[in-house]
Symmetry: C2
C-alpha cells in the first residue's frame, strides 16, 4: 500500500482489477453476496427472487459507431440482469456531467437511453444529475442500477464437465469500433459496436435449454475473462477451438494490425452460455433463430482436466488463454 496509486489497469477487468477488488473492496464490504462477484446480486427475502446490479459507464468517445454512452448504460444493466436469468424491470440513471457539455449532446444521450429502455420494457424510475467543473470529468459519466425478477437462477456452481460453451455471435466488434473511433486510426472499417439489450435472447436460451448452467456477457476483459472467471475455484478446465470462434474479417484484420486479440476485447451485445451437452444443439438453434444470435456458435467445452483455459489453435497447437494484468483497453465501456 503506502504510496501505491490506482492505475488505469485497475479498471480494465484483468488481474489488476481482480486484485484490487479482492484486496481492498471485499476486505471491507463483508458481504457473501458481493463476494460472489457476479454480474448481478440475488436479493433473498422478496418472494419472487429479485436481482440487483450496478455499473458505471465512462466510455470514450461518448458517441461511437453503433451507439452512445446512454444506450450502453441501459444495455449494460439489462444485460447484467439477463445473465443472472432475470428480466430487468426498473432502472436508475445517474449522470456526472462536465461543465460545458452541449445540451444537445446531453439530450441525444438521454433520448437514446430512454428509447433503449422503453424498447426493453424497463422503467427508469429514479436518477440524479451532478455537474462538475470543466476539466474535472470527461463530458459525461453515467451509472445505472437495475432491479429485475429472476426467471431461473443460474450460477457458476452449476457448471459441469461436459458442458458445451457457446457464444451468441462475433467477438470484438465493440472494442474495435470504439478504439478505431477514439484513436482516429483512420481504418476504414465497417465495424459497429454490437451494443444491444440481451434480455430477450437470454430468456430464449433459458427457455430452450433447462440445463443452461451459467451465462455471462463478455464485456471488459472479453471472452478470456469470462472463461477464466467461470471456472475459477472449481478445479475444472475449459478447451475451446480457435476455428469455431466467430470473428468478423475486419475485426480480425484490425486486431492483427494493432497486435490485439479479439478474445480479450469488450463486447456489449454478446453472451457466453454454458449448457449441458444434451441441450446444446437445441439451445444453439434457439440462439440462431434470434436476430442477436444469428452467428452463434459452440466454441468449446468444460473438461475435468487439465485445469485452466486452453485454446486449440487452427494449426493444431494448444496454448493457455491466461488472464493478463490489464486486459483490453481503458474506457471501453
Amino acid at each position: 500500500m503506502n504510496d501505491e496509486s490506482v492505475r488505469l489497469g485497475h479498471g480494465s477487468g484483468g488481474l489488476l482489477s481482480a486484485r484490487l477488488i479482492r484486496q481492498v473492496v471485499l476486505k471491507y464490504f463483508e458481504s457473501p453476496i458481493l463476494a460472489r462477484l457476479e454480474d448481478a446480486a440475488l436479493l433473498p427475502g422478496h418472494g419472487k427472487e429479485v436481482a440487483f446490479t450496478t455499473d458505471s459507464y465512462v466510455v470514450d468517445p461518448i458517441f461511437f459507431p453503433g451507439g452512445d454512452i446512454g444506450k450502453l448504460a441501459v444495455c449494460g444493466t439489462i444485460n447484467d440482469l439477463a445473465m443472472k436469468g432475470a428480466r430487468a424491470r426498473y432502472m436508475s440513471f445517474a449522470m456526472i456531467i462536465e461543465e460545458g457539455l452541449l445540451l444537445r449532446d446531453l439530450e441525444r444521450i438521454i433520448a437514446s437511453a430512454a428509447r433503449t429502455a422503453r424498447a426493453a420494457g424497463v422503467s427508469v424510475v429514479c436518477g440524479d444529475t451532478k455537474v462538475v467543473d470543466r476539466g474535472k470529468a470527461d463530458k459525461i459519466f453515467i451509472t445505472t442500477s437495475g432491479v429485475g425478477i429472476v426467471r431461473r437462477a443460474l450460477g457458476k456452481e452449476k457448471i459441469r464437465a461436459g458442458d458445451r460453451i457457446m457464444i451468441s455471435g462475433t467477438v470484438g466488434d465493440h472494442g474495435v469500433a470504439v478504439m478505431n473511433d477514439r484513436l482516429k486510426l483512420g481504418l476504414r472499417l465497417n465495424v459497429k459496436s454490437d451494443v444491444a439489450p440481451l434480455h430477450d435472447l437470454a430468456m430464449k436460451v433459458i427457455g430452450s435449454g433447462r440445463s443452461t448452467h451459467f451465462m455471462r456477457d463478455p464485456t471488459r476483459g472479453g471472452v478470456v475473462s469470462v472463461l477464466n472467471e467461470a471456472i475459477e475455484g472449481t478445479g475444472h478446465g475449459i478447451v475451446i477451438e480457435e476455428k469455431s470462434i466467430p470473428v468478423k474479417r475486419q475485426v480480425r484484420g484490425a486486431s492483427e494490425m494493432l497486435g490485439l486479440d479479439p478474445l480479450y476485447m469488450a463486447n456489449e451485445g454478446k453472451l457466453v452460455a454454458f449448457v449441458a451437452r444434451k441441450d446444446a444443439t437445441r439451445v444453439l438453434k434457439a440462439m440462431r433463430s434470434h436476430p442477436l444470435g444469428r452467428h452463434a456458435a459452440i466454441i468449446g467445452e468444460v473438461v475435468n482436466e487439465p485445469a485452466g483455459v486452453w485454446m486449440r489453435t487452427a494449426i493444431g497447437g494448444t496454448h493457455p488463454l491466461l488472464r493478463m494484468e490489464a486486459e483490453g483497453l481503458p474506457r471501453i465501456c
Copy 2:
C-alpha cells in the same frame, strides 16, 4: 438548445437543475414514478412495497471535517430511502476513480463506507470500479443505489394545511464545513459535517406520529429547496419563523461573513418532517430523544394561503423564500 451547454448551476439543486430535469430528462424518460421527482421510487408489484433510489457523489474535497465521500455516499442512499418511509436493506457501490488516487486513500474511503453501511444494517451487494486517465475525473466519484422495504408510505400529496414543519437539528453544518475546507478560508471553525444515516431517526418519527405526512432531507439546495418542492403544485403555502430555525453560532458567523444563507446550504444528516398538528408535540419529543435529533425544532406550518414559502424574520418582517437559479455551492455532495 442549439449551442447552449451544461453549467455548474445545472447540478446545484436550484431552478436550473429543476428546469434541466423537466425539459430534458423527463421529456424522454416517460415514467410517472420518475416524474414524481421524489428521493426514492416506490416499485409496485413486489408484495411488500420496495423503494429504490440512486445518487452520485462528487464532493470536493473527498475528506472533510466529519466525514468523507464514502460515508457520504452510503448515508445519502440510506437517507433517501428513509425519507420515503423505507428502511435500506441492499446497496450498490460504483466508483469512478482518477488514475493516481492513492490506494491508501481509496482504502480509507471504502473502509468508511463499509463501516457506515454495517452500522446501519445495509448489505453492499454489488459494485463496479472504473478508472479514467489522470485529469479526466477528480480523485473519485461514487454512485450508490439502494433498495429498501417501505414501513409507511409518505408523500407530498398527504400534506395538509395546519401541518407543522419540523427540522431535526441545526442547518448548514455540512455546507460550511466542506466549504471552509475546500476554499482554505482559514476560518478556525469548530464545525463538522453532520453526515449521518437517518434511518433510525426517520423510523422513530414515523413510529411516534401516525400522521407524519412527508419527510425529506435538505441536501443540495438546503431547506428552501425542500420547502418549495413540498408545496409545488399543491396550492398550499408555508410560513416559517426565522427565530425558530436552529443554526450553530459558528455557521451563522461564517455565513454572514461570506454572504451565504444557511437555509440554502446542504445538510447531510438532517430531516424536515411535515406532521399533522395533533401529533406534532409527540413527534418533536421523539426526535429530541434521539442523538441525531437533540436540537429538533418546529420551524413553521403549512397554510392555505398565501401560496409560496414565507419567512417571518426576527425583527417582524415577512419575506418570500424563493428558489434561486443555482442554490448552494457546486460539488457539496
